[in-house]
């Protein structure tokens, strides 16, 4: 069965600092990988996704993520964090093709200090 681990429950950064949120997955083959963001009281919004090809993917709001097969990781990065980035971030994995129900990690809460 597929699974996703987000080892950091909370991350605190200063506004303007760089950010990296970790995500590790367990799956027998290369899965489809996603990052979603959830602001308070809101639904989840897709930031970016990886299916195949270039392992560095660009998303919305200045986010990027890099797929590293050898480390089974798909870490999310942003070079300069804005106060509005404070939110909950979820990594998700889905099997390629066929039944494709995504499995989500427990999330990482990002706190941004001014």
């Amino acid at each position: 069965a597929q699974s996703v681990t987000q080892p950091d429950i909370h991350i605190t950064v200063s506004e303007g600092a760089s950010l990296e949120l970790r995500c590790n997955y367990s799956y027998g083959a290369t899965p489809y990988l996603f990052w979603y963001v959830q602001s308070p009281g809101q639904g989840l919004q897709l930031l970016l996704k990886y299916f195949s090809g270039d392992t560095l993917v660009q998303g919305i709001k200045g986010f990027e993520a890099e797929f590293k097969r050898s480390q089974s990781s798909f870490n999310l990065r942003k070079p300069s964090v804005h106060w509005s980035d404070a939110a909950e971030y979820f990594c998700a994995v889905g099997p390629p093709g066929g039944s494709y129900i995504p499995t989500f990690g427990r999330g990482t809460s990002l706190i941004v200090h001014p």
Binding site: G43, L44, L46, F90, F104, R106
Partner: protein
């Protein structure tokens, strides 16, 4: 509206009551998912529809949970004889894809259920 709409946004139920949560997906979206999100946790899969067919209900925690999508559009998640452990946010998501994976799920804002 353009997005996934869920109602009610907030529901307080006494233990033992039945509740019904509604999801109105994006028009034309074939796939519809229900997830349960407990406090401080990620979304946990409950059930999946492709049009009106419920293709996977493996995540429903008990036979008190029932979901339907009779006309392939609006879906209802019903919880009978609610228990305190049912307290959570119930998220609905839709996707235009069928069969092969399209990638993005479009989520509603969720229905927060509190069972007293």
């Amino acid at each position: 509206g353009a997005g996934v709409s869920q109602s009610p946004r907030y529901k307080v139920a006494k233990r033992g009551q039945d509740v019904a949560l509604r999801c109105d997906p994006i028009s034309g979206h074939v796939s519809l998912f229900w997830y349960q999100q407990a406090l401080g946790q990620g979304p946990e899969f409950l059930t999946y529809f492709q049009n009106e067919a419920q293709l996977d209900k493996s995540g429903l925690p008990s036979d008190r949970f029932f979901a339907e999508r009779p006309e392939g559009s609006v879906s209802t998640l019903k919880i009978q004889r609610t228990q305190q452990e049912d307290s959570a946010v119930y998220l609905c998501a839709s996707s235009p894809g069928q069969g092969s994976y399209t990638g993005e799920l479009f989520f509603g804002e969720g229905s927060r259920l509190t069972v007293l």
